[in-house]
């Protein structure tokens, strides 16, 4: 509710990519019109990065909140379902594991299932006790059940979609909800007399777009938060040295897989994102370890079908701005920070920033406490994801390439070093109340990266050995049967009417 007599705040979103149109659609839908007037400035001359084709399950809540129908969205964006992320060749060449959106086995008496499996000396089988992993391997998909007793309630799902189609899809909704689009390229930024708040952005044709609150969705360019307000960029490349990506779509071969793959490469990793109409591919690499031509050739050699476009080169640095909200400028998306899409967090981070902005939306003047809270919430998210990403690179036995030797032997943040040591000691996971990845995600990656616990929770000694062995085999059989009973992923998409 706006304060008495307060007039609507004019919000100017600079940049119309995924971040810009997600922000516009959410603000137009969720902030009352009496409180905010939404304007988005974008130029058709500037392409969108459109990274983050793969998402986390949180995207569903976002879509639901802005009133998106799932089948319609999937049709429009060529989307597929996603049960997790496969990591291939990370700890050792030949390894493969899936980080699923779901739990492993059944916790019993408050003790995690992986402790029982460790006690039985079979922890390397953990993947077989995740329904989304087993279903994903078989190219099957069914939506989860609500009944908490059902094995079918032990997972969630996300989407893989064409990000270049998501922004236009959201644009239609944002405009229907009252957001106004202004075509134009920003060439200058006006600030008030004392060089503080931004008052307007000036376009190439001379027009000025004035506003009270500016959202910087200009991508790596960081037009407002960086170029204008000079908020520094905290560089994390000492831990995450990949600084380029080359991306190319190709025709799809074989079954439609309900998971994204991240395949380790000599100087980085390669993504494979299956959509309905094509497969997205990219090689994320460290330019200190491979040159652009070699990286492009390596990518083109690895893709499964004919390339459908010219390979596209992206440059970036891992890191974030300590403050995403400075004065009256809020950075959302790549302008605020970048973490490589190894765990599909790009769109998630956009979503978290939008959610925080909606919750903290000014009614009248901007309250500095709102800015502080926004920056605190985003800071925790970035830092915790950063540690999770570093884990994938650092916990490796690979010594076949200088890149991997560097990653294996580098010093990692203390916050990560202690998490790894804790898991190695007894399979325990440092959990937290704020931040995206929960215990099963950490367990999946620790084990997948061959950090094998030396001990286990002593309470797992309670059941007798034969009884435990029987229960484990029963759960294994039930999981396999539940996966077999699911429909084929492509067929399921067809039944909900989302097939292209």
């Amino acid at each position: 509710m706006a304060a008495e007599g307060a007039k609507a705040m004019r919000v100017v979103i600079v940049g119309g990519g995924t971040a810009g149109w997600m922000t516009a659609a959410a603000l137009a839908r969720l902030v009352p019109a009496a409180q905010a007037e939404i304007v988005l400035v974008e130029s058709d001359e500037i392409g969108i990065v459109g990274v983050g084709e793969a998402t986390l399950p949180h995207i569903r809540a976002f879509n639901t909140r802005i009133g998106i129908d799932e089948a319609d969205f999937m049709r429009a964006t060529g989307a597929t379902f996603k049960l997790g992320i496969e990591f291939r060749d990370w700890a050792r060449i030949g390894d493969s594991y899936i980080h699923p959106f779901g739990v492993f086995g059944r916790d019993t008496d408050g003790v995690g299932f992986h402790h029982y499996l460790a006690r039985a000396g079979q922890i390397e089988r953990l993947q077989d006790f995740s329904l989304p992993v087993v279903a994903a391997r078989g190219a099957r998909f069914a939506p989860p059940a609500d009944d908490p007793e059902s094995l079918l309630s032990t997972y969630g799902y996300a989407y893989q979609f064409d990000a270049t189609r998501y922004a236009p899809y959201l644009r239609v909704r944002a405009e229907a909800d009252g957001a106004q689009r202004i075509e134009g390229r920003v060439v200058a930024v006006d600030r008030d007399a004392d060089g503080g708040r931004v008052t307007a952005v000036r376009l190439a044709d001379g027009r000025a777009v004035a506003g009270d609150l500016f959202v910087d969705c200009s991508g790596f360019r960081a037009l407002l938060i960086g170029d204008t307000l000079r908020e520094p960029f905290e560089d994390w490349s000492r831990w995450l040295p990949c600084d380029r990506a080359v991306a190319v779509p190709c025709a799809s071969q074989g079954p439609l897989l309900p998971y994204t793959s991240a395949v380790a490469m000599p100087a980085g990793w390669r993504w494979r994102i299956p959509l309905q109409h094509r497969v997205g591919n990219g090689y994320v690499y460290s330019s200190a370890h491979v040159d652009d031509d070699a990286a492009r050739d390596a990518l083109l050699a690895a893709i499964e079908g004919p390339a459908l476009a010219e390979p596209q080169l992206l440059r970036f640095h891992a890191g974030r701005r300590p403050r995403g909200w400075v004065d009256n400028v809020v950075a959302i998306g790549l302008a605020g920070g970048f973490l490589e899409p190894l765990e599909s967090t790009s769109i998630y981070l956009i979503q978290i920033a939008i959610t925080a902005l909606v919750e903290l939306f000014p009614d009248g003047a901007i309250d500095p406490a709102d800015r502080d809270e926004f920056n605190r919430v985003l800071g925790i998210e970035y830092d915790r994801i950063r540690d999770f990403l570093i884990l994938h690179y650092h916990a490796t036995e690979r010594d076949d390439a200088p890149f991997w030797t560097r990653m294996r032997t580098m010093e990692v943040p203390d916050t990560l070093a202690r998490k790894m040591a804790l898991f190695r000691a007894r399979g325990r996971v440092e959990t937290y109340r704020e931040g995206v990845f929960l215990e099963p995600s950490w367990i999946a990656v620790y084990l997948g990266q061959r950090i094998v616990p030396e001990g286990y929770d002593q309470r797992a000694d309670a059941p007798d050995a034969a009884g435990l062995a029987r229960a484990v085999e029963r759960l294994h059989a039930v999981t396999a049967a539940a996966a077999r009973a699911m429909p084929d992923h492509r067929e399921y998409i067809a039944t909900i009417g989302a097939a292209a």
Partner: protein, 447 residues
């Protein structure tokens, strides 16, 4: 490395020591537990007043002792929360309050449209104000409760239960603690024998008998924020209509708490320091609850005043944490550090909840300030690391203190909001009218 812990020696007496011994013996397979008696210099708060939080119910389930049986055997009662008077006038009852209107959380609906107090929409508060107890009516499903244990009778019962579950008691009490590199090397007993264990549990309360002088000295004093440190205790006859809420009065000079048992009422008075004839109870915590092969439980780690069932809450959650995070025999630093971080996070949030009953001090702990400020600005409440309570626990206390949001979140349509509030009110009124009174409820437990 990583050989499991097989023997544990708990040192102390009273409820804290016996509860720890019983829980460790029952919940850790393959572990033998001994309790080495040591009469503490100070009477612990859990031995003085038996108010627990709802955490006591699953705690008893986990140690294999039905809480109904524990209550019936020892003549205890239940507590749905605390009725606060004095500077403010409100009820904090456990459990969710009201119901959300779609995506709109109930506190926002209430803040926009509510006329009656916030707790008027809490099932536990309505029952408590009528001296009643929950029935099976679904309208009362949100009312959860803690126990009021009779400290004297419960102490004997938990001692008996611990021994029944195999806790051994040496013939003589503790005489001397022999120290070694890892912490405690052996416990020398008064009869000349000694006892060696893989892990030692310090349950000697504020005496902290097993702590090294350095560990005991690394103390964070909370009395600068909570100056009510002069404790006196009195007993009065029971009230005829047995209350199911504690009563707490908060005034500038003193805080008083009345805890209601079926056969008597225990009155505690916490005055600002300086009062004569009073025991000093300064809240605070040690930096390291676990050090080497010694872990502290209850007041040996954190001292909390007898408000809102916090001393028992800390005892129960602390024992749960030892069970859940038990390291190997080597008590590896990485595991012990994790335990300490987790324990301190929780202790600090209990401190914050305690201090939330008082006006926010200028130098208040940062985590508390964040919570109060965010609530006061926009009714935002984020679950912090270590949080032991829920949004609606905080909301009842902060609303009760008169805090209203500076930026009122969207409370939705006024008529719909008021209708929702009226519906909840009527449902609760009907369910409370049909619910049993507290004494009838307690009699029902024994049948």
């Amino acid at each position: 490395m990583n050989a499991p812990i097989r023997t544990i020696a708990v040192v102390g007496d009273g409820i804290g020591a016996w509860t720890a011994a019983a829980a460790l013996a029952v919940r850790l397979p393959g572990v033998r537990v001994a309790l080495v008696p040591h009469t503490a210099r100070h009477r612990a708060m859990v031995d003085t007043v038996g108010a627990t939080t709802p955490a006591a119910l699953p705690f008893h389930v986990d140690i294999g002792w039905d809480w109904r049986d524990a209550l019936a055997r020892t003549g205890g009662a239940i507590r749905l929360g605390t009725q606060v008077t004095g500077r403010d006038d409100y009820v904090h009852a456990y459990g969710a309050v009201g119901q959300a209107a779609g995506a709109r959380p109930f506190p926002a609906v209430w803040a926009a449209h509510g006329i009656r107090p916030f707790h008027h929409y809490a099932a536990g508060a309505r029952l408590g104000l009528a001296a009643k107890a929950p029935s099976r009516d679904p309208a009362l499903a949100d009312a959860i409760f803690g126990l009021v244990l009779d400290p004297d009778r419960y102490a004997r019962a938990v001692e008996g239960y611990a021994q029944h579950r195999g806790v051994m008691v040496p013939a003589a009490p503790l005489a001397e603690v022999a120290r070694g590199d890892a912490g405690v090397a052996a416990l020398h007993l008064a009869d000349g024998t000694h006892l060696i264990a893989d892990l030692y549990v310090d349950a000697t309360g504020r005496e902290r008998r097993l702590a090294t002088p350095d560990d005991a000295a690394a103390w964070e004093d909370w009395s600068r924020w909570f100056p009510y440190t002069a404790l006196t205790t009195a007993t009065a006859p029971a009230e005829m209509l047995l209350p199911s809420l504690d009563r707490m009065t908060i005034a500038d000079g003193a805080i008083t708490v009345a805890s209601h048992l079926p056969d008597r009422t225990i009155h505690l008075r916490l005055a600002r320091a300086g009062a004569t004839d009073a025991e000093t109870l300064a809240p605070g915590r040690r930096q390291c609850g676990w050090s080497g092969n010694v872990v502290a439980v209850g007041e040996a780690h954190v001292v909390l005043p007898p408000m809102q069932g916090l001393p028992f809450h800390w005892l129960h959650t602390g024992i749960d944490r030892i069970v859940a995070l038990l390291p190997g025999r080597d008590c590896a630093a990485v595991e012990v550090d994790h335990y300490n971080r987790t324990a301190n996070d929780e202790a600090d949030r209990l401190r914050d909840l305690l201090l939330a009953h008082l006006p926010l001090a200028d130098d208040a702990p940062e985590t508390l300030r964040d919570t109060v400020v965010e609530f006061a600005r926009r009714l935002r409440w984020r679950q912090r690391d270590g949080e032991g309570f829920a949004r609606d626990d905080w909301a009842q206390i902060l609303f009760g203190r008169g805090i209203r949001p500076a930026h009122l979140p969207d409370g939705g349509d006024a008529e719909q909001g008021r209708r929702l509030l009226d519906d909840i009110d009527h449902r609760l009124a009907a369910a409370v009218a049909a619910a049993p009174d507290h004494r009838t409820f307690l009699e029902g437990l024994t049948r």
